[in-house]
Assembly symmetry: C2
Homo-oligomer: 138 residues x 2
Amino acid sequence: MAANSQFAMAIHVLTLLARSGEEAVKSEYVAGSVNTNAVVIRRLLSQLNQAGLVASQTGAFGGTRLAKTPDAINLVDVYKAVCCGEVFALHGSPNRDCPVGRNIEAVLCNLQKEIDSSVTVALARYTLADVMESVEHA
Amino acid sequence: MAANSQFAMAIHVLTLLARSGEEAVKSEYVAGSVNTNAVVIRRLLSQLNQAGLVASQTGAFGGTRLAKTPDAINLVDVYKAVCCGEVFALHGSPNRDCPVGRNIEAVLCNLQKEIDSSVTVALARYTLADVMESVEHA
DNA sequence: TTGAACTGTAACTATACTTGTTACAGTTAT
DNA sequence: ATAACTGTAACAAGTATAGTTACAGTTCAA
């Protein structure tokens, strides 16, 4: 159960909201499609809300809808909203008395930035509208 | 302390081995530079060994050295040797009674492959020799 | 041929992260 | 007022990594 599938789930949820247009969708309904608990969905929606991707309304007949049009939601935005944004982690405190240990951190940090950047560039090529179309024509 | 820093650690270790050339290096020494336990290093070296990147020798005066020259060790090889190779995970069983749930998995799977591929391409641009030079000129 | 010095690996603990769940306070339409 | 929502805290369960100890197996050297 521990696999960090938040990005995949976010794409799923946003696609669902996109199909409902202006109509607010209940977390319970979304949970039914994703096949998980409604609280898990609300937690995810909370992050997407902070990123300005969705808007929720509390109270009776409330729910959540997109805050932007599907073509204005880039997959990079989604990724940054729910992921840590690092493909690999740096390792803790190498020994500074060793020539390699002293300098490897900076080298790895640069590499990390470059790899993360390549992911960003690859994701930036798609919007939620593209995903919707792929789902429709599957 | 749970952060999957295996790739970073692997690069560190391989750089260290590269600097020793043909001379076998003891896990205890490597552990000193990485600042961790020798068994952690031996576990990592075991994976690198299975990938054909290093060669170990048991017994007295044993140790580990590179199985290839540094310029023949591509960072992609290292990544594949120690990482799962997936930038994000797919989420479990969406509801197949929902139009989105039914098709989202295939769409996400394609996206996953494309993103993972972009990481591979970005890593493929570097070899261990490049890392060594960066560490030297830091 | 004995002993010292290694690797390889199993087993266990500690830590931390994600998911799933219950519970409940706050908000809103009817 | 009440029913129907969201937001979030709190907790349990499952899983992954890191660190550690222990020990079997291998190799060299005296």
